[in-house]
Assembly symmetry: C2
Homo-oligomer: 320 residues x 2
């Protein structure tokens, strides 16, 4: 198990895209700056989609430009196609993620694209990136969404998942992401999936996972991912985003709880938990009607809790 | 990892003892009967403590007598001392648990007893049991409470935990339980603790754990316990019990979510999830002001979900 873990905060993208309201650009900037100041080193700040589809994310180019001014921060964005990727590159994103739903039914329903059409976009994005000077090339992730099952199709055959992972690598992706879009994953499934996709894409190309907490298994699935060797985990401040069920049922896993678990295990996230918790106030003020989730924010830290960085090395080795 | 897992439902004891109201005896019976009918094979039905301290559990003897009439059900109770154990034996409990808080500060605050005084009670209970005919002897568990840390003392030294585990075995316990009374446990800590206590008590004597979900890590800690070889997990229907924080922050882990996770992993709990979910209606009707927690009850089962028992054996082997 790695001792350093990367938390990729997806709230400004995944958290906001489902809201009825549009968070003001200034608030987004304050949120991103505060999380970065708490030690978060990768933030998915938006998505390059038509503003008429997602007005919540219409300011993504401005947000990317702002986020790039924060030293040490990896600025990630989601794109649905090569047109979005071109905009992401123009704005200066460090990392571009293209989702490919392994359920073709879901892909057609959500993106109105077949698998082959999405793969063609992936190839076009890879071409755009290859045309850039090496030092300007963003990292390109192809993310397998609904990979643990689809609300329309149910379980997706392993062979189909592996074929699509291979196709994304052949299209020119640097990395394959795994996304439990539907909250269907369980720990055994996570371990299997990581092993399986690494078999076709290589271990170095499969390091991250996007988990939801729809059925309460989010952190157990993180633990399974850690055991399988993953080192990057997506999460959302306050569990904001994709929240179809209440109470307590957030879509995204809660960054605060995730960081607590990892640090309690002696894994170094680089994130200051009290500072991270304080960041919630920005959302609470700007989105007073949105529930903010999280157990640790309510329960507080255990008495005498010490983050990984403050603990003696021999204790950490024992703990892991 | 074992393929069969025992869920020990603790709601009728741990769930009810913190309520302001007293659940009628008839409702308790209906609840216990319904859970047993859903496939739950061990239920902690009450506690033999003075009725003036816990009026919620004053009918424990009657509940034990009722629960014993349910075929195949292990009827467990908590006792604070030898007097309670004598009552439990008279009522016919199959399993008796004596908690010993590894934090002496907590032990004094909650039970007004030192470690040595609790160990003396353990020896007296073992003597009571030894005086019974073999076929009438209940299983005797000594449960190490606050074992992952105490809200008054913080972390408890490993040496103290090991000394007390050994002392409980020497006092005559059949089994050592681990209880995260405070919700301080993390997955690395669970793995360490199981290894450590097994070192002194033997693997066969350390099979179960009582976890809380106070900081959202309940199911991740279950996974860590599974990996460490544990096979018995306490939980509470609807997460009832010990619920100091809201929203979503239950004290006990939620039986429904726990069973879902295990069955999704291909582990056989013997529990029918739809029947288990239907059991919630009994609590919802009888305790309309108490929040019932759980993600799976809100989100439902994944499309095409099959419990462990219904899946082909080769798939289960792959999954685990």
């Amino acid at each position: 198990m790695a001792s350093q873990i990367l938390i990729s905060e997806v709230g400004p993208r995944d958290g906001l895209q489902n809201l009825d309201q549009v968070l003001p650009t200034a608030v987004k900037k304050a949120w991103i700056a505060a999380e970065a100041a708490a030690g978060v080193t990768e933030i998915e700040v938006g998505s390059f989609v038509p503003a008429k589809l997602l007005p919540q994310l219409a300011d993504t180019a401005e947000i990317v430009a702002f986020a790039r001014t924060i030293p040490g921060l990896t600025v990630a964005v989601l794109v649905p196609n090569a047109k979005g990727a071109a905009a992401a590159i123009a704005a200066g994103a460090h990392k571009i993620t293209l989702p490919l739903s392994v359920s073709e039914t879901h892909s057609l329903a959500n993106l109105r694209r077949t698998h082959e059409q999405v793969l063609a976009e992936a190839r076009a994005i890879a071409d755009l990136i290859a045309a850039l000077p090496v030092e300007q090339r963003p990292h390109f992730e192809g993310s397998l969404s609904t990979v643990f099952g689809c609300t329309l199709e149910g379980a997706i055959p392993d062979a189909q998942v592996m074929r699509l992972a291979e196709a994304l690598m052949q299209a020119g992706c640097d990395e394959i992401g795994l996304a439990d879009t539907t909250g269907y994953a369980d720990p055994a499934g996570v371990r299997n999936m990581v092993r399986m996709v690494r078999d076709v894409a290589g271990a170095a190309a499969v390091t991250g996972i996007h988990l939801h907490n729809t059925r309460g298994l989010g952190l157990a699935n993180v633990l399974a991912g850690l055991d399988a060797g993953l080192t990057t985990f997506d999460s959302s401040l306050g569990g904001l985003g994709g929240c179809p069920f209440a109470p307590g049922a957030s879509g995204n896993i809660v960054t605060e709880d995730l960081v607590f678990m990892l640090e309690a295990m002696g894994l170094d996230t680089g994130i200051d938990i009290p500072k991270l918790l304080a960041t919630r106030a920005i959302l609470a003020e700007a989105l007073p009607d949105e529930p903010l989730y999280g157990f640790v924010p309510d329960a507080g830290l255990p008495l005498g809790f010490a983050p990984a960085i403050a603990r003696p090395q021999h204790e950490l080795e024992m703990a892991v």
